[in-house]
């Protein structure tokens, strides 16, 4: 029962064992059954392959076919809880048809984005899902120029001739404001996400417009430079320097909301007694915090899954016209919002 060699079995080894040409083995073992090999030979080959513990060398196959059955995914940071479900959605859908995914963290740094794209191209990825897009994004431009199939997820660029699976931000903000206005809040502030991202930008825009529509002060807007708690805290403090009559804040994301809550705690503002707050993308476990954070849930797993499906279609050449899917978010009211204090 000793193994003869540590070398992995190749197609030639099984060909030899069966006594056929290695091209016949290749044909017998490849799934597309256009080239018919006689069933008896197929069976012999399969048996031999099994016996030798043969499995195909995907890198040789990739080189020859000039496709890799791999896609890339660009995210800012795996440790941001928004992204794991998106990635899992992507993985589950592409893996079911034999693709694998390579993810890279870019920390929102353009240099790392470039490097990651290069690396992925070097590995001949067939397409890429981009969760890091800024409204004007050199990476997106490069994909277009180099004709790399791509789809954006979560964040959008300003141009609309791209494939994207994003959130109906308008709806997100409107349902949030409806909720707050119903609770009789009038002085409502917004700690917006970075304006160079579509999510930050669109929510801030809708916020102003919808406030105006309701004849409410639309200018209580402060910008957070990143979707982080630190920036949320900074934003809230800045807001306090400008105005302290607000009774509610709409945060650009959950992480921003956490920062706001921290900053409020520092100055003795109670949530929701003094100020109500709504978060932005419903990351896990925040339902268990004190107070449980009201937030706008977005279908992260689903978005990843859809983005993957679209990308696969583009790769297969089945999709010509760009598609922008806007997924419906859902306001989840918990304990961080309450009627406006009088």
């Amino acid at each position: 029962m000793k193994k003869k060699s540590r070398r992995k079995a190749t197609i030639r080894d099984v060909a030899e064992l069966v006594g056929v040409h290695h091209s016949t083995v290749s044909r017998a073992l490849s799934r597309n059954k256009q080239s018919k090999i006689s069933p008896s030979v197929v069976r012999k080959i399969e048996r031999a392959a099994e016996k030798l513990g043969y499995f195909p060398n995907l890198v040789a196959s990739s080189l020859k076919q000039n496709r890799s059955f791999a896609i890339g995914v660009l995210i800012p940071d795996l440790m941001n809880p928004v992204f794991p479900p998106i990635i899992r959605g992507i993985q589950d859908t592409v893996e079911s048809i034999g693709y694998t995914v390579i993810t890279a963290n870019t920390d929102d740094e353009e240099r790392k984005e470039q490097e990651a794209l290069r690396m992925m191209q070097g590995r001949s990825i067939e397409g890429v899902i981009i969760a890091t897009a800024r409204r004007e994004d050199p990476i997106v431009e490069e994909c277009i120029k180099r004709e790399i199939p791509f789809v954006l997820v979560n964040r959008m660029v300003d141009r609309v001739d791209v494939n994207a699976v994003i959130v109906d931000e308008d709806f997100a903000v409107r349902s949030t404001l409806d909720h707050l206005i119903n609770l009789k809040h009038r002085r409502i502030a917004h700690i917006a996400g970075p304006p160079h991202t579509s999510t930050g930008f669109e929510r801030a825009n809708t916020f102003k417009n919808y406030m105006r529509l309701h004849n409410l002060e639309p200018d209580l807007v402060v910008v957070a430079d990143k979707f982080t708690a630190e920036e949320g805290a900074r934003g809230l403090k800045k807001l306090l320097g400008i105005d302290n009559s607000f009774t509610a804040v709409v945060a650009g994301s959950d992480l921003i909301a956490l920062g706001c809550i921290d900053a409020m705690a520092e100055v003795g503002l109670m949530v929701p007694e003094n100020v109500s707050i709504v978060g932005g993308n419903d990351i896990p476990f925040l339902s268990r915090m004190n107070p449980a954070l009201s937030s706008v849930a977005i279908p992260k797993y689903e978005m990843g899954s859809q983005a993957a499906k679209v990308l696969l279609e583009v790769i297969a050449g089945e999709r010509e016209t760009p598609l922008v899917m806007r997924m419906q978010p859902r306001l989840i009211v918990r304990n961080s919002t309450a009627p406006a204090p009088r």
Copy 2:
């Protein structure tokens, strides 16, 4: 400014442009500078490569060199907050030297583990980091048999002749119990993680031994079949059926602790007034819950990073003897633990 063709530039294209043999280009562009090419030629080649937008085809390079500069990572589920930091730690350390990582979710199903390993082998990964190990694990055996370099992270197998970066579970449990005993708890229960995992098994063992050492009842132990909140809740209910005099519970993980807390809430037990509870691996945001969960922090990012370093050493042939690193955890006392009620 029109591109001549969509074809990616190859080493031959730049060779032609410079007027040298393509092997010279290969030498000039490869980082290992043993084969000296005259600086002037190198410069010309670099210029030409730049001009053509050349970048190496890693899959061709992989095929030829029979190494892929890729490693695999097996995790149960990306959406479990324990794993993203581990993966990030792995990625950051291997990417800095040009490796990429391919992760696969196995959902703790052996079939998926097998499939993932196959896929990774097909892609010629040079080694694999395994975060899914059970105490007896066919995947680990297979890696040994096939001589695939691997290192375990977080979970260990029963055999000790392997590389692993894990937690000092003994210390984790002892510091937890010290804390609880100091708070005058005497009836302490344990909702253990799955006994087929080293973490579940070791913590339960230490729990019993250390309780005995303190002349406390060591048998208030119930097993959760998975590291999930659902299983934690089930465990707690089962415990209540056996005994309801306990004043503290040591949970096998944070997720298990969350389930316990839910189950306690259902029957009107207050944390920490009636029962104190300590979680198991300090996942993010639980410091913000109500009550903030006391937990044993483990250095997840660091563990990933260390595991990657060890794996890289094994791959480089620089490590002969197996290494088991036990990382020090740290009890973080928050508000879910309080003096025992009288």
